[in-house]
Structures are given as C-alpha cells and as structure tokens.
C-alpha cells in the first residue's frame, strides 16, 4: 500500500515515574492505521489501552518513539502547534457521567469546541451547527437547554459523541464508549457510531475490554498485554485463528450467550495480571502462560508478521 497512513506509531512508549519504579504503561507500540479503518484495542484493566489512546492524541506526552499524523511527525509539537491537528483528532470518553461539565447545558457542551477553534463568526451559524449535530447523533431538539444530570447514560454518551464530531474530525479515539451503558442502550450507541463512520468517513481507534463489541465494530484488532503488543490481525482472522496464548485465553474466557455452552468447562487461565512496574525481562505473559518455555522468561519475544497482516509476539508460535 502506497497510501500514507492516517496515523503511524513508531516504537511509541509511555512510562510513568512511580515511587515503586518505572511503570511501563505503553511499551513499544508500532502500527499503521489507514483512513476509514477501525482498529480495536483490547486488553484487561491496566494493560495500557487508555494510556495508548491518550498518548496518541498527545493528551499525555510520550516517553519515547514517534507519532505521525497524515505523514507528519507530531511527537514534539507544542500545544499551540497542535491546535490545527486537534480539529482533526478527537476523543470520546468512557464515562458519560464524569466527562461532561455539570454546569454547562447540552448546547454549551457541544458548542465549546466550535468556539475554541473559532469555526463560525456568527452565533447563529454556531447554533445551527449544534442543532445539526444533535440531529446527527439522535438527540431531540428539546434537550438543548438541559443539563447533563437530567439525562440518562445513553443520551449523555450521545452528547459526548456530538462534541467529538463538532469539528468534523477525521480520526476519533473511542475510549470504552459503551462500557458504562446497559446492553440495549449499548447497542443503540454502537449502531450510531458505525453509521457515523460510514456517513462521515471516520477512522476510529476503539478501545474496549469487551471482545464481542470489538469484533462487531473493528477491521483490525490489537491485543495488548501489560503495555506490550501481543497480537494484531484483521478482526475475522484473529477470532478464527488466534495465535498468542493470551488471545486464546481471552477468547475462551468470554461467556457465550448460548444454552449449549452450559456447564462446559472452558479452560480457565490461572493467575492474574502482574505488575507493570519495572517488568522483568522476557515475555510479560510468561507467568500465566500454559506453554511457557525457558526462553520466554529471559528473552522478550519479537513482534513479527507470521502470515500476511497477522502479527504476534510469542516464542512458541512458528
């Protein structure tokens, strides 16, 4: 593919300095994301998926590595220099209860980015754009002057989506946008996000811990484990042929809503996620891996392409 990727990460790292040592939240992420694609990022709590989303948008500074947006290196851009890029990249947050300013009305919240970026000279145009956005995300007009606390989770998340869309971005990081919602509402928001993607030609990084959601919405999936890339492949292939032992364990751990699964003893992975502070050399998954070899405990596996577009970091995969 000769097309420039919309987003390219090269050996991106984010370490947090912690009293106990260096916390490797995001450790050596290299990937390309092309226009119109959705990359699902999955992993358990503490695997660095949210940190990755924020580092990509430069909401937190990276420790090492580079971020290219449309071929341009934005890693060291200053706040002011980032402004034109901010219009093109947005984020939808996980918790629609705490990510909206309780003192602002719905229209003020959606309008804010338009004001900051001085998109419209006239107030009238801005108000029209707010109405247009509310319409786009399925929020009724009558909510213009309500406050977030008056609305339920689903509607609040629609405000979050409308705010993210206000500046016509090309790229949106969705950080667990549906995990705080009930299933029936979750499905409404997922459908909305997929429709918007087609309609507006958006590119998503979709961060979630829910594998069935990620399969539903993504073209490619990246599995993270303790900040490291474990496996990356097109969505279907990852589910049909998972290679990394962690991916396999994740897939078997999902309870399937089907009566024929009752009482079937799925293989349950032992142990828990170890600490990302000053990780030991070798594979991060070694402590829980059922196939662990001597090599795994000493040498970090290389993230390599084992078949076209299917990458995995594991010593035991041939």
């Amino acid at each position: 593919m000769s097309e420039t990727p919309l987003l390219e990460l090269v050996h991106l790292k984010k370490y947090f300095d912690n009293p106990a040592g260096l916390l490797h939240a995001v450790d050596d992420i290299t990937l390309k994301l092309y226009r119109g694609r959705t990359l699902g990022v999955v992993g358990e709590s503490g695997c660095g998926k949210s940190t990755l989303g924020r580092t990509v948008l430069k909401l937190i500074e990276s420790t090492d590595g580079q971020i290219f947006f449309k071929g341009e290196d934005i890693t060291f851009k200053k706040k002011r220099e980032m402004l034109p890029y901010r219009r093109q990249m947005q984020i939808i947050f996980q918790d629609p209860f705490s990510s909206l300013d309780p003192k602002m009305t719905v229209s003020q919240i959606i309008e804010e980015p338009l004001k900051i970026h001085k998109v419209y000279a006239e107030k009238y145009d801005r108000e029209n754009r707010v109405k247009e956005l509310m319409d786009l995300v399925g929020l009724d007009d009558r909510y213009v002057n309500t406050y977030p606390h008056e609305l339920d989770g689903g509607r609040r998340q629609r405000i979050g989506v409308a705010r993210a869309l206000a500046l016509n971005p090309e790229f949106i990081v969705c950080d667990e946008p549906v995990s705080a919602l009930d299933v029936s509402i979750q499905a409404q928001i997922l459908n909305l996000m997929m429709d918007l993607k087609d309609q507006l030609g958006l590119t998503y990084i979709f961060i979630t811990h829910d594998l069935s959601v990620v399969k539903h919405i993504s073209n490619d999936i990246l599995v993270l484990y303790l900040g490291k890339m474990a496996e990356m492949a097109p969505s279907d292939r990852l589910f049909e042929n998972p290679l990394h032992p962690y991916t396999k364990a994740l897939l078997t751990a999902i309870p399937v809503p089907d009566a024929s699964y009752k009482g079937k003893e799925a293989e349950v992975m032992k142990g828990e996620v170890t600490s990302p502070i000053n990780p030991k050399p070798g594979c991060r998954f070694a402590a829980r891996c059922p196939f662990v070899k001597e090599e795994c405990r000493t040498v970090s596996p290389e993230f390599r392409e084992v078949e076209p577009d299917h990458f995995v970091a594991c010593h035991i995969v041939q």
């Binding site: 358990e44 709590s45 339920d152 689903g154 009930d182 299933v183 029936s184 509402i185 979750q186 499905a187 409404q188 997922l190 459908n191 997929m194 811990h209 594998l211 069935s212 959601v213 399969k215 539903h216 279907d236 589910f239 364990a249 994740l250 897939l251 078997t252 751990a253 999902i254 309870p255 399937v256 809503p257 089907d258 009566a259 699964y261 009752k262 009482g263 079937k264 003893e265 799925a266 349950v268 992975m269 032992k270 828990e272 996620v273």
Partner: protein
C-alpha cells in the same frame, strides 16, 4: 419433584421519596427449588437488586414498603422481626455484593471478617474451630491461608471478590444471592470466579440467585432464568427454554438477545430495543414494555397483561395470549 426452597408470592416493593412513589418491584411470583441456580436478568432499574434486598430485609426501613409473601423453607420472612431475620441472614440466606472494592471493611484483616460471620451464627464456638473453618473456607475459594492476616487493600479485585464469596458461604447457606458478582472484574478473572462459584455450588448444594445483565454468564451457570423488566418478571423458564430461538419469546427478551454482539456470528447491525427503560415512578399503563415494543398492539396499552403458562414456563405477553388458559 425437588423441594421448594423459596417462593415469592405477589411481591411488590414501593419506594416513597419526597412524595414520589417508585414502584420498583411489581407483583413478582417466583419459585426456587433446592440446589437450583436461577439467573435474574434485566437492565439497570429493572428491580433485580431490590428483589434481592427484600429477601434479606435490607431495604431502607422508612422509605420502602413491601407487600406480598416471601416464603423461605415455608416461613414468611416478611412476618419475622429483626431479631429473627438476623438468624437467617448470613446463616441461611447470604449475599455477595456487586462491588468487592467497597463491600469489605478496610480496617479488618480478611480472616477476621470471615471469622466474624462464623462466630455470630455459632454461639460459644471454640476459637480453634473458628480458625480451622476460616482456613478451610479460604482454601475452598482459592486464597492461600497464609494471606488471611492481610487487609482488603492488599488484594486484587478478583481476590477481593473471592473474600466476599468466602464470607457469604462461611455458614454454608441454603440460599446464596450473588448480585452481579463479576461485573467489576476482567474477563479472565471473571472466568475464574464463575468456575469457582459453579464448583462451590455443586459441593455445597446451595441454591443460587444470580443477578446479572450478562446473558453469557447466565448460559454458563444457570438452570432457570427469569427476565425482569420494570419490576415485573416478564418471562421465566429453564435455561434451554429461554435461550431456544425457535420458541416464541417476550419481545423484550428478543430485544436483549438482539442487543448483544454474538462473538460466534458475524452481524452487520445490532438490533437494539428502541427507547429507554421507564422510570419506576412513571410506569406506563397496560404492558410496561408497550411504548418500546416493536410488536405493540392496541390491547397492550391498557389493563392487565395475560400470562401464558406451559408447565413451569411462563411469559407475560399478549402475543402469546389465547394459546393457553390466560389468567
């Protein structure tokens, strides 16, 4: 036929706050046999937790009103006074709460918290026996006994949930209520906890009411399923009956299944339920689901909805009415 352990008869719970009446649970009829695992499924505000709390008389005293009967081993729990209830609570019926992070006492060692339950329900028990029982319970839930002198903050989420389960099963209860026991946990840890609970249930032969919104967990663990909507049980049956797609179902049940992306099937679009769950203070007339129902008919809008029975299976919907004797 197996023995009935618990029977709810026409149970209703109302909350009154600032003069506003919320009808959280409405005329629930439910039976649970010994050794059975019942999944109570529904969304936020469906009345699942309120139903569970009413079994333990843990509802706020001055703002809630309970009507109906809760027959536990033949005794009506609603007629007991606080002293009598305390003998049942924790001993015969116990509960695992949703959030293990906040349900443990942060200033007591976990071994002590487990021992507490044992001492309260076994007056005059020898300290050595308490300590032995704590050890055996800890090993049952997979916590090394060496950790019993640690405090809750030293445990991870999954381990804390095991402590909660240990407290709940400390007195070998007849009925265990688990309120979303794995919602706060990661999938791999969730799988560990579910597996452990299933093994414990088999070992102890207790009955379990599992409150959840996750149909996947229900399929893995439950014998019977009750679907709740707006304080009513709208469909009830065996796991196989509820999950059998070839059978007719309540439109809400269908909606719930349509809302979850199935990992084994490729679907382009989900089929969510239109609209929102009604607030329990403003329940619609007729069938509570009618404003959101894609198959809503004129009859659904007013009056009582007939219940369709087939053995133990029941479904409260006009669509199934007339197929058999309606009530």
């Amino acid at each position: 036929m197996s023995e009935t352990l618990l029977e709810l008869k026409d149970l209703s719970v109302r909350y009154t706050t600032d003069g506003i009446i919320s009808r959280a649970v409405n005329h629930v009829n439910l039976k649970l046999n010994k050794g059975e695992v019942l999944g109570l499924v529904g969304e936020t505000g469906a009345g699942k937790t309120t139903t569970a709390l009413s079994l333990l008389s843990l509802l706020p005293k001055y703002t809630s009103e309970v009507e109906g009967e809760i027959l536990f081993q033949g005794k009506d729990l609603l007629k007991l006074d606080e002293k009598e209830i305390r003998k049942i609570r924790g001993r015969h019926i116990s509960m695992i709460f949703q959030d293990p992070m906040t349900s443990l006492n942060p200033v007591f060692r976990i071994g002590e918290q487990i021992a507490d339950v044992i001492r309260i329900h076994n007056e005059g028990i020898h300290p050595q026996e308490v300590s032995d029982r704590v050890d055996s319970i800890l090993s049952m839930v997979g916590i090394p006994t060496s950790r019993k002198r640690e405090f809750p903050h030293q445990f991870s989420g999954g381990m804390k949930q095991r402590v909660m389960i240990a407290i709940a099963i400390a007195c070998n209860p007849d009925l265990l209520i688990a309120d979303e026991p794995t919602t706060a946990l990661d999938v791999t840890i969730q799988a560990q906890v579910i597996k452990m609970m299933r093994n414990l249930q088999r070992e102890l032969h207790s009955s379990v009411i599992l409150i959840t919104h996750d149909l996947g967990i229900v399929a893995n663990f439950c014998d019977k399923v009750a679907i709740m909507y707006a304080g009513e049980i709208i469909e009830y049956g065996t796991l196989e009956e509820i999950f059998d797609k070839s059978r007719p179902h309540h439109p809400y049940t269908k909606g719930l299944f349509g809302s979850i992306p199935n990992i084994n099937e490729k679907t382009d679009r989900l089929h969510p339920i239109f609209g929102l769950t009604p607030h329990p203070s403003e329940l619609p007339s007729g069938c509570k689901f009618h404003p959101r129902c894609p198959q809503c008919m004129e009859v659904c809008k007013e009056g009582n909805v007939p219940v369709y029975y087939e053995g133990d299976y029941k479904c409260q919907c006009w669509l199934l009415a007339g197929k058999e004797a309606a009530v």
